[in-house]
Each structure stands twice: as structure tokens, then as C-alpha cells.
Amino acid sequence: MKILKFLKLFLLLMILASCSSLSGFAPKKGATGEEFLIQKKNALVMPPDYNDLPVPSSEETKSMDDSEKVISLLGIKSTTTSEINSENETLENSILKKIKNN
């Protein structure tokens, strides 16, 4: 019986009072967070090797053979055929010189 009476009084409070919510306990308009606690981010900068990167639209991509990839990974300097030829010539000359001398 008492509970019924309290419920009636509470219902009366709900009908007669006119309190309203600030959109469901959300922080009210204008009340922002602690602005001093917000960490500022650095301005965006270009990456250091930006100019070395390939242009996205260009289709010319350097294809490497597997052997070349291995050589590049090992750090061995690749030698060209002209260099090899010149080396061979010098070797020939030295042999010929030695023969002549004998």
C-alpha cells in the first residue's frame, strides 16, 4: 500500500516537474575537453628519399634477374664484358712479352 502511494507521488513528480536532460548526460555544447592535455602532432614532412622513389604512374620498372638480385644482396660489384676483355688483353700481352723474351 505504501509502495503504491510512493509510486503515485513519483508519478506526480514526473508529470508536474519539468526538468529536462542535456541530451543524455553528454557534455553540453561548448564544454570541450582539457585543451592543454591534448598533444600536438608535428607538421607533416616529406620522406627523406622521396625523390628516389619511382613515380606511381610510370610503367618502366627495372626487372632484375635472380642472379643479379643475389649479387646485389651479397654486395659484389658486377663486372661488365668490356672490363673483362680489357683484362684478357693485358694478360695476353704479358704472356706474349714473356715468350718474346725467352
Partner: protein
């Protein structure tokens, strides 16, 4: 009408008028600020702000619809409840009548706004950090106070009856 009854009604009328005009003065002050500044957002201290919100519904922001017919229905319903409270006041003893007058004074303040502004201005915003309690007005304070007193009276009178 006996002198005792006349005294009772005079006391009750005085309480009713004090509550009604306190509420009206507070609301008029807030509406004046709104007219001058365009917005009411006044910092009182870290727990209380004055922030104007118009409530077209009932308590706790319920039934805030744009439907005009429903609004009219609710206003008539509240008016009828006020008449019932008035009848209860006339039939009660002085103590209970004073408590019911607190409720009626507050309710009449809100009813006045419902009729003349078609919404009730709420402006007392109590909060703890970002947790905001419902925004209310002076009328709501008296309505709540009256109903709390009635609950306590129920306890006290029941004890007396049992003894």
C-alpha cells in the same frame, strides 16, 4: 467560515504566492539575459551553471514531442491534476496542506509557462565534471521538496496512528 480556517487559507495562499512569484522572477531574469545576450550560459561555480533549455515535455525530458495536440492534452491533464491537488489542500490538515501547497505552487509556475510560452524554461544545471543532472528550475525545487515532505509525513503519521 471559522477564523481558524481563514488563517489556514491565508497562510497557504501566502506560501503559494511566494513560490509562484519566486519562480516567475527567476524565469524573467533568465529570459532578460536571453534577450540581451542571445544565449544563457552563465558559470556560477564548478558545480552549477545557468544554461537555458526549453522543455516541451514533462519531468525528466519525457514526452517532448512536436505534436501540438499531445502538448495540449498534457497541459489540460496537468491543469486537472492541479485542480485535484487544490481539492486535497482544502480537505487536508494544515501540515499536509502546506506540503501540497509547495507542490501546487511549483506546478502552477510550470503550468503558466506551458500556457504562455508553450514550453517550460529550465536553467539550473548541476554537474560533476561532465556528468550533468537534469536541468531544472525553481518550480521543480518546490515540487520535489513538497513531495519529499509528503513521503516523510506518510511515515510520521502512520507511526502516530499505530501508537
Amino acid at each position: 467560515m471559522s477564523i481558524k480556517k481563514t488563517h489556514k487559507y491565508l497562510i497557504l495562499l501566502f506560501i503559494f504566492l511566494v513560490i509562484f512569484f519566486l519562480d516567475r522572477i527567476s524565469k524573467l531574469q533568465i529570459l532578460n539575459i536571453l534577450e540581451n545576450d542571445g544565449i544563457v550560459d552563465i558559470y556560477i561555480n564548478q558545480f552549477i551553471n545557468f544554461y537555458l533549455v526549453w522543455n516541451t515535455g514533462v519531468g525528466f525530458g519525457l514526452f517532448s514531442f512536436d505534436d501540438g495536440n499531445f502538448y495540449t492534452f498534457m497541459t489540460i491533464f496537468i491543469l486537472l491534476i492541479n485542480i485535484v491537488i487544490l481539492i486535497i489542500i482544502l480537505r487536508s490538515n494544515l501540515t499536509l496542506a502546506v506540503f501540497w501547497t509547495l507542490v501546487l505552487g511549483g506546478s502552477a509556475g510550470n503550468l503558466y509557462d506551458r500556457i504562455f510560452y508553450r514550453a517550460v524554461p529550465d536553467f539550473i544545471d548541476i554537474h560533476l565534471g561532465d556528468f550533468h543532472w537534469f536541468v531544472f528550475n525553481v518550480s521543480d525545487i518546490f515540487i520535489t521538496l513538497g513531495l519529499i515532505c509528503l513521503i516523510f509525513a506518510e511515515f510520521l503519521f502512520n507511526k502516530e496512528k499505530k501508537q
